[in-house]
Symmetry: D3
Subunit: 323 residues, 6 copies
């Protein structure tokens, strides 16, 4: 559950908070379902009206939740405020002791979850929450691998999480090892694995990641240029071991909500790889355009259609009114 | 009636809609009344509280509505969402079967309407709605011409309208033929009349329009550069058959609401032509400044004063607080 | 789509409208899905973002929409304002020419719709909209009957609808004839069928309805006492041909939103009849308690749980905070 | 300008204020214009955007403002909060030094104002503001009398005003002497003129007022029973020197906004006396019903139609939804 | 931190939440500071912007926070929705693992806290949160007693708390034993201590409590009659071992926010006992009137002045507008 | 009290106003208190709920108000609207006859105020309001000087104030003469003292001010480049008689609220000079960074922490989300 200070107001002065639901994996699921790809979100939630509201929102986007398990006493919350100009956005995490943080191996029947599924995606936020969540993530990754699913991850390093005693660098490697597709940004690679770009820039990051995690067939990197809190540049690259496919770069001059930007890239990338499997250039362009558009809508979930993404991919970034 | 998704939210996710009244001709009337020029709006409205609300809003701006006729079962609605960066604004028209769409010749007593009037303005949105609306528009234009009123039009081509079977290119010519002043943009001229700019650019569009509609003594064109949905450039030109008068160009970097922009240009142009009849340069500068300012206020109607327009025409675009 | 003036404001003075989705049959489906009964809503919607928003809302409540067909140019709208004290609530219908109003027989594949279904419910609002909607309703009722579904209806007479030339009294009988369960209120029975209560009061209405429509095995009547726009009394009765089962009467002193009250009664009644088939008393109590609670939440859809309904049925109407 | 704490919030804790325009005489003018009676409001306003907003609102209701004079530096403001249960509503007046408070005799050309007019209404709030406002009020009353207009007043005693040195009891008599119709409540009569009811109750107040102000042909009294801040009873009486006509009493159980209640009674009374001159019973019933309905809408101005008032006068107070 | 669904909306459907700060002891401190009595609130808060917002709100009411200690990772939250008619209000507690729940003895320097203080108040909510909070509460009570402060408590039984393994009946007695003044309601006494009223009603509860906790010189009981969620009756009694002082009973017909009602009674009672020490009747009347008024303002903190309370105590419950 | 049209709406069309408290000196006090420097605000306020709200807000920020005196009948108000692009922001002052405007020498006990104080700050807005306010300001400045406080001022010229008959150029000199630190912008210096920059630019302004007011040991100037109403550049300089210390320049591309910008600079400057007394470069950098951040939060008061200012001073202007 995200509780956001309205407009450009600050959390320390808010009188009302806007309520959204979101989170790394949920955002990717919502993107995919919204694009028409069957998607399911698996988590653990407490039994209360707020958890029901979360399920309702996922259902509204078309995300299935049949294997959500119930228990624990609270849902993870994060409080956000939107940055402006030189004032950074801020996130206060209140995820400790949430139902998902207190999950234990065995609580989820991964065989049932993966029945009929083709792809499993996880993000680095889950193993950052608690040792239990990390163990369950590993359990899931291995079950997915065993059943032959494609496995993808977003490294998603969050400095303010990772408080339960183990560093990201110790927990992440066995999880990432099972992945076919790894998404990160330059900061993630450095903070989690100590991988720094050399003169080749992000190509070198792709190569180093692929060298370290040889099962990965593709590495994707998002590249955000933070001119200020309202104005970013944005592009992505996809490396298949041979070629580095680069999307066009977008100049996002009046950001509405950048939270979920990386997840919408991942949603777009999976959509692209599923719908035109061999076409890496199209996949990375779709991902970049989809996530560029995500920056223009409020909330964590991307709310744009395939047609809207394709219109932008086609080069129409003029923003003229459709009428 | 315009129902707009608040802020940068999307229509498909809105929980509240902002309610405005507007429309091509009404917007011009509101501009003029707001500048102190007596103006009246003529239309057909159903008998219900929403129509009364529309009249109330027009009266608030000082627009007379004495010759509005009542009947039909609904008022035309359009739903809008505001674009951001690379996401275009969107309009969903819900104007079919509105009271004005079901208007028939004879329902309005144009002789009574034009008693004492000096100028009649119509836009291409009216004949786009229905065959009946087009016929009544022609009836009005001819009645106006007969009584010696100045007649102006805004071509205002809207792809999503024009659904009743006749194309714009067939319906518009006899209407435009009666006009003394024609306003359009390059897209309008091409979509309605197949007129494309040659090497002379918009000057050639003016010349071609004037050649085709010889009764027109002046042609005006608005020039919008869509950098993205938040950031446009904006200027206008006015051609009197001899000289092309160009306004300064405005850089509108943080658009608040661009709907009604062209109408506010027309309102400013008529104001300029009425108040300093021979001064085409002043008229086009007033029109461009007035419509630049329209982009900074929410809703269809322009809310700025003559003094504010003149302050901007005078070159003060710094936006410093008046205090 | 319902567009409601916020708070106790009037439609003729509103600057914002609250957006809800609702409608007779949709409200019943939402009630049932919310209580955990699989439910599907079948209609015709245009292809635009507002229709997608409607589907999203239905999915949020768990209502399936797999057999919705798309076409037409607009979604039906109704505008509402909430009454206060001696000022009645008001509804402005803007449903003419909606996608559902322009439906024609054959557009919906009722065999596919009814595959695996056990119950079909319709309301008197659908045949009131247009001749086509009435024909499709008859088509549906007969298909349902043929496949052996239980068929129920809510007479739901709305004076402001029924404008297409045929009176309710002519259109409704063949539709109602196919029903196993008929819900109405005293006004409906009189306005549609000319059935007036005699000295036996609503029992006589039940008996007359059953006499006229012999296939009906149960008649239900809701009884609203309008003390004023904020304060109503509310109860329901269910007659099975032998016994009149009466619910307790609720004193609803501070109504939040009474629209959808009758539909929530029907949703509760179907739930009761499905879950404890032989227990008419429980069914009518469940229906009355569920719809009493509907009056306390905003929007057309009932948002209360089975546990909350049962708590009220059990006699706990004190409204003490649960903490 | 009224600035109101939203909902049941307190002024000392508000973060936003709702903006309305209102005031004793303006409210009566808005009632009359809204009922279709030509009405004009005369006052003095400063030259700024807030005053323009005030004029816009009056025009929206159809009130003419052709003789408003401009000058001074501020518009009078009053801040309000809505009471609840045992907590009274509160008003903070900030009207000192307003443009109207600083008005002087001669600033308004009453001959021009009264050209073609038939009725002049003033309230006790105007002479309470300043000596100048009292003098101008006297100037107006005498000019009206001289031209043969019907003159009415509402005594409207406000303890928190009357701060400029002269008591109401000294200022009001020469003003009231000129009136054909006097409206008050029991408190007004006592606080301004020391008139107390005897055993005959409000009839005796009418008689005493008529004895003291023999030019008055009619006396009206509003009778509010304050059960608590949300729940009042309300009725009115009209005395013509012979008969005391009493309206039915309304039980207003869920007040939305009671400010302007007395003014809406006066508006209804004048409407009644103008439209059915000899029918005092109808006039007082219309006034009572109109002002009962005023309690159900937010803001100072009454927003109900003649048809709605007549529906209530006819005995339909059930508040059933019109649909 | 309280996060409340706006209006009568439900938590499971909210899109925005109103943010208040409150809690048993904080509410009493805010009442006292608001009445002009120096008051300080002692707790443990995390170091983040939300905790700063909490301190800001306390300071706004004049409550000192000099001895608040910082640590832990989260602030306790409770989510609320307002009941209506037969739908009860609801509270979802999310207080586990809050900074105050993880407090340990020794973290607060009670000697420093009590320097110069005369009265210490605690409520049953604190020991309900965690074993640590209960231990610190005992530490505080004993330190206060040792330094000769008057100690009061509000039993405040909350069924949804008390989850850490020890029942209220085991934890509360040693805490309550130290108190000079005990406040409860009939349910509290029964649920915590198994004390049930006999034929003497609440007098017997007072006597039993005093017998069990002989150090207590006064027992107060609040008596809420829940007619429904909007309409309660409310009074309080105070027993000094000899006489039972009863306040008048208030009929709260249109509740705005009842959360904090008991705390505002306690704040009023302490105010009364401090300002007119021997006058139990005045104290209980002040407490009852203050808390009656609390029901008419949103949020946990009472926002009414001593003058407003005294006006109500004086019998003026008419709610007439002050103007 | 500031009443602001929400969003980019205009005052002449607003239906709600956002309520803030602010003013030149109060804003500086709030900045300092927010940074942890003990600060007190001295003024004269009326005795009403709005004045209490003002005190509450100051207390929330930690500003002491122990020497505020009460009297008069109103609090000064200013109405604001936010500019956009080429439309300037606007302020309507309604400060005449406010409690502070009607202050007289002797009303404030400056000896008591300055007991224990080290610094006194005033702005040119106070002597602009009324002759009495100017006299009390002089009284204060001289008392502060006499007790050895550091005295600073912000020239803060406001064309729309200064209406009581004496020009700024006559009133300000004796006040400014007593100051150790003078802040202004180029316009202030010219409008108040006729000081214009020569070829040395703002350095020459500093030198001329220092020559004219020799007691001043430091002159600060803020330099705002108004590209348009949303986009300004911003920097400051500090001159100590020898060296001109220049801050970096900030490019504020998406202004949230620029009102209070200069005051937040002054607050930052005093903070810098107090915490690292000899380091002029740090002080001006802190001031510029603090006030750059002020432009990103709504309301007059700066809401950013020392850590946030130092982060920006350190060169991190990327606005990346902290998570």
């Amino acid at each position: 559950m995200r509780l956001a200070a309205p407009g450009f107001g600050r959390l320390g002065h808010a009188r009302q908070l806007d309520l959204y639901f979101g989170g790394g994996e949920a955002n990717v699921a919502a993107s995919l379902a919204n694009f028409g790809v069957p998607a399911e979100f698996v988590t653990r939630l407490p039994e209360n009206d707020l958890a029901q509201a979360c399920l309702r929102e996922l259902h509204a986007y078309g995300v299935a939740t049949d294997h959500v398990v119930f228990g624990g006493s609270r849902m993870g919350i994060y409080f956000t405020e939107t940055g402006a100009v030189a004032r950074p956005g801020n996130v206060i995490y209140d995820r400790e002791h949430s139902a998902i943080a207190e999950i234990k191996p065995g609580m989820i029947d991964w065989d049932a979850v993966f029945e009929g599924a083709g792809w499993f995606h996880w993000t680095g936020i889950t193993p950052a929450i608690s040792a239990g969540a990390a163990e369950v993530c590993l359990e899931a990754v291995r079950a997915a691998r065993k059943r032959g699913l494609t496995v993808s991850c977003d490294l998603n390093y969050r400095k303010k999480l990772w408080k339960y005693g183990k560093p990201a660098g110790a927990v992440m490697p066995p999880l990432v090892e099972e992945c076919d597709l790894i998404l990160g940004n330059e900061e993630d690679a450095e903070k989690v694995f100590g991988i720094k770009p050399d003169a080749q820039g992000y190509l070198s990051v792709c190569k180093q990641l692929m060298a370290r995690f040889p099962r990965a067939k593709k590495i994707a990197i998002t590249l955000r240029g933070s001119i200020n809190a309202n104005h970013n540049t944005w592009k992505g690259v996809l490396y298949d071991g041979n070629t580095l496919y680069e999307s066009r770069q977008y100049d996002i001059t009046h950001i509405v909500d950048r939270i979920g930007g990386g997840d919408s890239f991942m949603g777009g990338l999976i959509y692209g790889l599923l719908t035109t499997p061999g076409d890496c250039q199209r996949a990375v362009e779709f991902a970049a355009a989809a996530s560029c558009l995500k920056h223009t809508v409020p909330g964590d979930f991307n709310q744009v259609s395939v047609a809207e993404v394709e219109n932008l991919m086609g080069g129409n970034a003029s923003g003229r009114v459709n009428r």
